[in-house]
Every structure is written in structure tokens, then in C-alpha cells.
Point group: D2
Chain length 278, copies 4
């Protein structure tokens, strides 16, 4: 190929210095002189089909967006991006707490790093029965795992984004009839000693709102959720305090961050509140 | 430079055929053999500061996202992308119905095309007084101009996205107290003989919802909008029908498309409706 | 419950007229006086797990975003939103050309409409082997089905969004070395007499770019795609013309719209081109 | 109005306890029993027109997305959301380091809090001259201010997102001709003793990439940037190291976090790297 191309191997182009030989040049293995360790380097925005285990060991198929990073010692110019993709494709698609650790260990080995990081976000579906008619419908929640292997220790933080109904206490208190309400989203991040199941944490959050959401509501159900929301007005402040109050009763949970954002029905902006432990 | 680079001019690299001479090669001017006219070609996703004229000839500064296209005759390989940027940068930042036509004419000339197209989207701010306290606050709306110069004729379509409050008639009718409500967005696109002012079209849409939105609401205002929404329940179906009913009374409007989307407070999905004229 | 609530049944609140009786009031069934047929009304932004059939009848699990609409006769005030959800949840998750028609028929019947519409968008994964090492890696494409049942006829339009590499012919022609290149996205929408398989249309598009993309590339593969892109420079204009040229050779394809957008590596805006048949 | 509505004032509806009297009930002022301080509560997603001062004291009009929070003492049920909007609307639209502090002080006073927080993100335009032809064109950058008033101290962190061209050293080294390149984005966050001007930090970042971006490039300019990129290949690792190396020479900068993300032209995912000080 070189002869065909017309490029004179011995005379490098002004632009740079390609090197050809028996092995293709490994530019990343060159040494680096800047004396700077890199905290995280790798691939991001990668979509991949996965299966998630639930509490009953049943799996659910979904599609994740994934980021995979390692740290890079100051002496090396670059990491080997393709190895992340190899590790992911050979890992298989089943994601559970155990095999996430294996995936991180493999990244650490293949990439000769001290630390490895995985960020994985996916929609998770739960079949919920409408409150009165008991008709079932699927509804989705966003789940995000932030997992780090730093030296030998695994750090696992799970975030759930749970959509809810919030009805305003002030609006209810001052109005003759009605009360403004809207969809809101609660984002709960936790660290825990033992596994906390997605379904359980969702239930905790939903119990703290004016009402939980359902995809399928017949008229008796719509009546029930409308009245229930009116009976349970919550500010964003109440929403985060309610959730935190429940999380604090669970000694299994070692850290939390709870955020709530309401897409206010009377404004073109949102209301927001946040409590973080410690 | 060529001598320094080490590339032998007379021996083209396998990869292609760079041409150097007095003038830099104009690749786009090459002829094309595929016999295919291109409907639109140009630049998109370009952010640019503009000033928009309002009804009183006052201008408002905002930031637009812009796309600029022309058609391309089948005989030419490519258009000249940089000329779009030159036209835009030299046009000045004031946008009004008249000078949009000038900008399109200039695109047509500079790019030797039959047709020219401009898509420009920007936030537009209106100062609104709260309904009871009359306190003023700015609120934003999305405006989108779709303008075409096809042969000699200008076609101008304006789209406004107006956020509103919608309260559900069914929920109200069947519940003992309360009614689910939410923020919704009405997207109105029109063509008209004479200019329709943004503020006027916004007022039409807002009068069709359960309530309009305000950024600043003190408690007496919140009471007023809560009660007003309860007194004026509308389905998405009502919302689009109300808007269309008003547009039809205006003979100046020659075409419309009205869409409404509610971010349902009781579901994790939206309700949607659409009516288009003709 | 009414007695407990304190609302005097016989004296309706100023705000409205709730009706209670044996059956919950069906507000949507009320007649409408505005004389306006609604083109589309239903649910949007609904996420749902599906399985998609491929050419070999194997299925792939993925997550779709779905919109479901019907038209609404002018005499009715509203449609029955919950029925869309019932139809979807009972349909099962396998999506293929045949059962999409069934789903639309069911919507039409359950909702007593003339027309029914389904928009369904999902990521679709293909395992590709790197060009030299033949190592396999999954890569994702966006697929969008737009299906309408209008009176009795089914109209099916499929859109694929295919990411590719594009290298600029002008940059290559005028520069001593190198050529700017970038990721681009080709969006192809088609209507056809017989089914066109996703994989086949993806191959057509990828063959028209400077290079196709791969998730997993070892160094010999990276060398191959780099050189291949340099050997096959294409403007956005070339990209859409190449794709259209191939589509036109297939008499099975009755309509097409081809768009290409490059995330230009030398600008903070994109280059865009579009050809539509007829 | 109460008489008209038909609601018996003395008999509260089952759903709740509205209170009517001379003054509208201040629900937020109620005391709270859960013993939970709230870290941040306020408004988010608010769009507002602003003017930003540059180094020469000239102002530039743009549109910001704003969040405004305070902390909330455990004894209070809620904050007063409307006061944020009042403070913002009365502040005027000129944003500079000094008056941001004033805005925070005002929030703290109006909302009786210990702490106040402001997040403000906006596009910022710079006129750049193309490298050879010197023709000028506007190009946009994203700027984000994170400002906190905690007790008495102001903490100001500025983040710039700077789009650049990156060309891959490995691809260049192993290929006979060409090298894959793409648009990337560098996100630099800093804290400093004295003000660091946006333009200066942008220049630092741009000097670390394979090439900076321009909106307007004629052919001689395109040749120059193509060759410059080829002469200056950088991995994402190089990009963050180059930026950090320069930041470390400036003792004015007390903290930094530098991230780079490349929209790889040969993959459908991105490459990412990050270094944070300390």
C-alpha cells in the first residue's frame, strides 16, 4: 500500500511523523512529560441493550446510556479506548450489583488503571394497577447507577427519578375551589450497605407526593387520584422533607440526596428543592 | 511549503488528488453528473444575536437559532457554505418582516439559486401584569419564523409556542373537590396576508386556555388564577377548537395549524391534539 | 362521601357543575357545538418496551417512545384517552408490520374514529464486525415508524437515522495534508410497496458516506477507516445525492426524503442538505 | 364570591381546610415539625434577558436560563417563591461580578435565609477573524456562573464550554494519509481570586486544541485550519492536560475542573477526559 500511495516513507510530511513498521504504532503508549494524572478518561454517550435484575430475579430488557472511565497515570499519553468497548461487548447484557463489580474489575485490568468508573442510565418499567379499577398499565422511571472501583473498594450510588403529582397547599388554602397541581419529578440518590431495590425506593417516593402517577386511569381511578391529591397537598419543600424523613428511618441507607422539581402549572418556570445528608 | 512537506506533487497519494495552483481549487464548482437537484442545502444550528421589532417598533434583544438554505441546481457539486455566514454577519441583527425578505434575496444572489429558505427560532419576552396585584414580571414565549423565497414569491409562516394552564373538565366533573391541571403548550402556526403581531396571537391563545401563565404571582393573584382555571376547564380538544374558532374569524389568516400538548399531572405521558386548516 | 365533604349537592359551586350519580359522568361524550373536526387527538411521549422483528424473524428488545392518535368527529367534545393505553398494554410488545395494522384497527374500533395514527421511535442495534480485525461490536441506529390508518388504507413511512463519517472534499483538495471530517447523520424516510428491512436500508446509507461507523475499532481498523474516509470525500450534497441515486434504482420505493446533517469539525454550526422525491 | 359559589364556609370539605379572612392565608409561614433544614429551595428553568459586561465594559445582550435558591430553616414550612421573581425583575438586566453579589444579598434579605444561590447560563458571542482572510464572524460559547452567598462569603465559580477541533494522534500516526478529526467541547470551571475574563479563558482553551473554530472560513482559511489541525493532533487526554498545564501557571486560579468530550467521527459514542484540581 505504501508504494501505491506515492508517499515517500523516508521523507515525513511537514505535518507530522507517521511511523510504519511490523506493528501499528501505539501512540497512546508513548510517555507523557506534563506530570499530570488524569482523573477520568474513557467513553461516554454509548447506547447498549441491557437486562436488569429485579428483586425476584426476573430480568427486564431495556436500553442503557453508558459511560466507562478509568484514571490514567501521569506517565502515559493516552488510554486504550477500544478496550472499554471490548469489555462491554463481552460482558453480556445482564446488569446486577454483582456483575457490575466484575465489569469494573475487568476494566481496571484491561486498562492497567488504579480506578474504574461506570455510569449507566436506563428506563425501568413497573406494572401498576389503577387504584380503583385495578387495571394494569406499564409506567417508566429513570434509573441511574454511578459505580466506582477506587483502589480496591466499590462505591455504588443509585439514583431514581420518580414522576409524581404535586398539589399546592397555598393555592388550596386561599382559593374557593380547586388548587393548582402539576407533574413533578423527584430525584433520589442513595448509598446503602445492602442492596435497596428499585421498586421499594419508588414506593417510598410515591408515598410522599400528593399522588403517584399511573399510565392507565379509568374514570373511577381519575376521581380517586384527583381527590387524593387534593387531600394531600405538598410543596416541593414538603416533598423532599417527606422523602428524607422516610430515608432516615432506614439505617441501611448511609447517604442520600433528594431533589424535587415541579413543572408549575401556573408559571413557565419550575419550583425546586434539595436536601443532602451530611 | 510543498517542498518542505515532502509530498511529491507529481505523484498523487493513493487517497486522492489535491490540486495546488494560483487559486485554491473550488471543489464546489465542479459539475455533477448524478442529475439530481437538491431541494435545500446550507447551514443549520447557528446561534446568532438578533433584535426583533414589536408592534410599537421597539426592539427586543434576544438570541436566535438559525438555519439558512438554498436549492442547488443539478449541475453543481456543492454550494458555498461560507457565503451564508457572510450574508448573515453583514445583514445586521435587526429582524423584521421586511428585512427578512432582503436577507433571502441576498442569499439567492450570493448563492446563485432559485430559492432561499430561512428558519429562525428565538425566545420572545413580554412583560405581564399579575391579574390582581398588577405587579409586572417578564415571561418568555418561543417564536419561530419559516420564510421561503421560491422563485419570486415570499412565503412567511410564523409559529408561536404559548405555555398555558389547562384544567381537566372530566376530573372536575367527577370529583368531589379539586381537578387535575397542568402546564400545557399550544403551538400555533399561521400564514396571513398582513402581519400578525406576536403579542396579538399570544393573547388569542391565552384566552382559550383554563388560564394564562404569569412569572410573578402574589397570593391574591394565585387565588385568582386557581379559581379562573377551575371555572374554565378545557380538554386539549377544547383548547385547539377554541383557538381555531378565533383564528377563523380573522380573514387575514389564510392558513393555520394548531397543536396543544398537556404535560398531564396524573400521567407520565402527555395529551395531544391538532387541527390544521384545509 | 358527599355528606362528609360538606359540599351541598343541590347548590353547584360557582366554578362548575359536577354531576354525581350511578355512573361517573362521561364529559368526553358531551356534544360539541363548535363544528370543528379534530385531525389528531391522543397520547404522546409514552415510553414502552417493545420487541422488534428483524429480517430473520429474530426479535430484539428495545424501548420505544410512542404517540397514538385518532381523529375526532366534530360532534364530540373529547376522545377517551385511557383507551389508547388499554390498547397498547393489551397489544403485547412485539412490533412488526402486520401487527401494527392490527393495533391501528383496534384503536379505530375502541375509539370510534375514522382514522388512527401511530408514531413509534426506538433505538435499533446491529452487531458490526470491524473492517480488518473482524471484532464485533454493537452499534445503535434510530428508527421511526409513522403509520396511519385513514379510512381503510394503511400508510407506512419508515425513517432511519444513520450516523456516518463525512470527510470534506474541498478541505482535502486545497490542503497539503489532512482533511476535516466529522460525524454526520443521515435521516432517510421511505414509503414502499413491500417491506424494506432496516438492515438493508442502513447498508445503503452507509455505503454512500466517507465511512460507516463502528463501536469497536482496533488500530488496524482505525487505519482502514481513516484511509477509507480520505479516499471517499463527500459533501453533504454528495451524501444525499448518493443515497437518492441508490433509492431510485429500487422500484419498490415509492417515496423518499433524504436529509444529511454534518456536525462540522471546523465550525460551531452544521452543514445540511435535503432531497425529497416528487 | 363565597355566597355565589355555594360552598358553606363553616363546613370544610372533606379534602381540606381552606381559610378565608381579611388576609389571604400564608401557608408557607406555618411551622414545620419534621426538624429538617432544606439546603436549597427556589425557582429553576427561568429564562430572562440579560446584558453581560465584558472586559472593556461593553455590554452584550443575551438570554439566560436562571435558577435562584435559598436555604430554608427547619422551622418553616415553605419559602416565598414569588419573591425570587420580584428580586430578579427589579434587579435590572445587567450582570457583572459586583451586582451578582447584590442580587444574592437581596435574595437573602427578602427571603430571610442564611444562604443564597444563583445559577445562570447564557450564550456569549465573540467576533473572530478568520486566520488568513481576516474576515469576521460571530461565534457562540456557553457560559455558566454558579454563585453562592453562604453566611457572609461569596463563592463564584465560572464554567465555559468551548467548542474546538480535535484531530487524533493515533489515527494520524498509523494512517498513510488523513486522520480522523471532529468537533469536541472543553468545559472549564474555575474559581479565582481576581476576575478572569471570559475572552481570556476561551483563548487559553482554544490554544490547547488541534484548532479553534470559526463561523466564517473562506478557502484559504479552511486550508489553514485543516493543516493546523493535522500539525497539532491531540487526544482528549492531551486536551485536558494542555489546559490544566496553562491554568496551573496562573496563581490567580485557585480551583479548576477541566473536561473534554469529543464527538468522535469514527464512532457513535464520545471520548471523554477530566482533571480536577486537588
Amino acid at each position: 500500500m505504501l508504494q501505491e500511495s506515492g508517499i515517500d516513507q523516508n521523507e515525513p510530511p511537514k505535518g507530522g511523523l507517521p511511523q510504519f513498521g511490523d506493528h501499528l504504532h501505539d501512540e497512546q503508549q508513548l510517555s507523557d512529560e506534563r506530570g499530570l494524572h488524569i482523573d477520568k478518561v474513557g467513553v461516554s454517550g454509548l447506547r447498549f441493550p441491557i437486562e436488569v435484575c429485579d428483586r425476584t430475579s426476573l430480568t427486564q430488557s431495556t436500553v442503557a446510556t453508558i459511560a466507562m472511565y478509568v484514571d490514567l497515570d501521569q506517565s502515559f499519553k493516552g488510554t486504550h479506548m477500544s478496550r472499554f468497548i471490548e469489555v462491554l461487548n463481552s460482558h453480556g447484557s445482564i446488569i446486577s450489583v454483582d456483575n457490575i463489580s466484575e465489569l469494573l474489575l475487568e476494566m481496571k485490568e484491561r486498562l492497567n488503571s488504579s480506578n474504574a468508573y461506570l455510569e449507566i442510565e436506563f428506563p425501568y418499567f413497573i406494572s401498576k394497577k389503577a387504584p380503583v379499577t385495578q387495571q394494569a398499565g406499564l409506567i417508566d422511571y429513570k434509573v441511574h447507577f454511578d459505580v466506582s472501583l477506587i483502589n480496591e473498594g466499590i462505591d455504588f450510588a443509585m439514583t431514581l427519578k420518580v414522576p409524581v403529582t404535586t398539589l399546592c397547599p397555598c393555592s388550596k388554602a386561599i382559593s374557593e375551589y380547586g388548587a393548582h397541581n402539576q407533574r413533578g419529578e423527584v430525584s433520589v440518590s442513595i448509598r446503602s450497605n445492602e442492596t435497596v431495590w428499585i421498586e421499594d425506593l419508588i414506593k417510598v417516593v410515591e408515598s410522599c407526593a400528593s399522588s403517584e402517577l399511573y399510565s392507565l386511569l379509568k374514570r373511577p381511578d381519575e376521581k380517586a387520584v384527583t381527590e387524593r391529591a387534593y387531600e394531600n397537598p405538598v410543596f416541593v419543600e414538603d416533598l423532599v422533607r417527606n422523602v428524607v424523613t422516610k430515608l432516615k428511618t432506614d439505617s441501611n441507607i448511609t447517604w442520600y440526596k433528594v431533589e424535587a422539581e415541579n413543572y408549575e402549572s401556573i408559571h413557565n418556570h419550575n419550583a425546586y428543592a434539595c436536601i443532602e445528608s451530611g
